[in-house]
Amino acid sequence: MSQDDADIDVRLARLADATAELRPRADFTSRVMQRIEAQPAGVLVALQLPARRFFPISMLAAALALLWAVSVDRQLDEAMATSDDMELAAW
């Protein structure tokens, strides 16, 4: 280890000692617990994360459903047009 590295270690050790007694404020735990208690109930949290994970799949499913709906609508239009034509021809 070079002298520079040793100097770095000495300085880091001094700063570690000087900050060894740092503590959060006295009300820190109560502030954290307020945040925790404000969280949605366990079941809701439990549902939220999986829901987020499934979001891309849901978006894909929604897009496929839309495409399917458009194609069915088109088929229905064509079927009705054919049926109208046949009705007209028969008349």
Partner: protein, 175 residues
């Protein structure tokens, strides 16, 4: 940080109040870690508070399966939050001294000077190198422990330490 397994199990079973035992047992070390990485106690408290919220959600949702050591897992969340905060800070202009004023009740003059010295000295290190050096040389952790916290190989830890020290050496050689 003593054995927190029982508190973890109670939180997972829906006992929110049991989370306080985890906070009581870990907050001093975690806030100290955050302050050493970020340079002041106010930012460290914010980071650790967010980390606790994340940890609570992970417990409730079962994302944390309880097999890993709770203390290591909390260290990991706080370190990642602190790295994110350092990155965010690098993108924003430096704030004024408001954090210093607010933290006057939190730390003695000597502690504030030490934190400021640490932050200033490591200011130009990339956040991951800074976090690695603090965990190793200030928190006194071993390379395998750091590798577990940062979820990287021991080789990567050693490499970050070498780079961090080289950057600090270069800085001290600069006129």
């Amino acid at each position: 940080m003593d054995n927190l397994g029982e508190a973890v199990e109670r939180v997972r079973a829906g006992d929110t109040a049991a989370f306080q035992r985890i906070v009581d047992a870990t907050s001093a070390r975690l806030v100290r870690l955050g302050a050493r990485m970020l340079g002041n106690v106010v930012d460290a408290e914010d980071v650790v508070q967010e980390a606790y919220v994340k940890a609570y959600r992970a417990l409730v949702t079962g994302e944390f399966d309880g097999r890993a050591n709770v203390a290591t897992w909390l260290y990991r969340i706080v370190t990642n939050q602190a790295i994110d905060a350092m990155r965010g800070r690098a993108r924003r202009p430096k704030p004024t001294d408001t954090a210093d004023e607010t933290s006057s009740e939190l730390a003695s003059a000597e502690q504030k000077l030490a934190l400021a010295e640490l932050a200033d000295w490591m200011d130009e290190l990339p956040p991951d190198q800074r976090a690695t050096l603090v965990l190793k040389a200030v928190e006194g952790m071993t390379s395998p422990e750091i590798a577990e916290i940062l979820q990287c190989s021991e080789g990567a830890v050693e490499q970050r330490l070498v780079r961090a020290r080289a950057a600090l050496r270069k800085r001290s050689e600069a006129p």
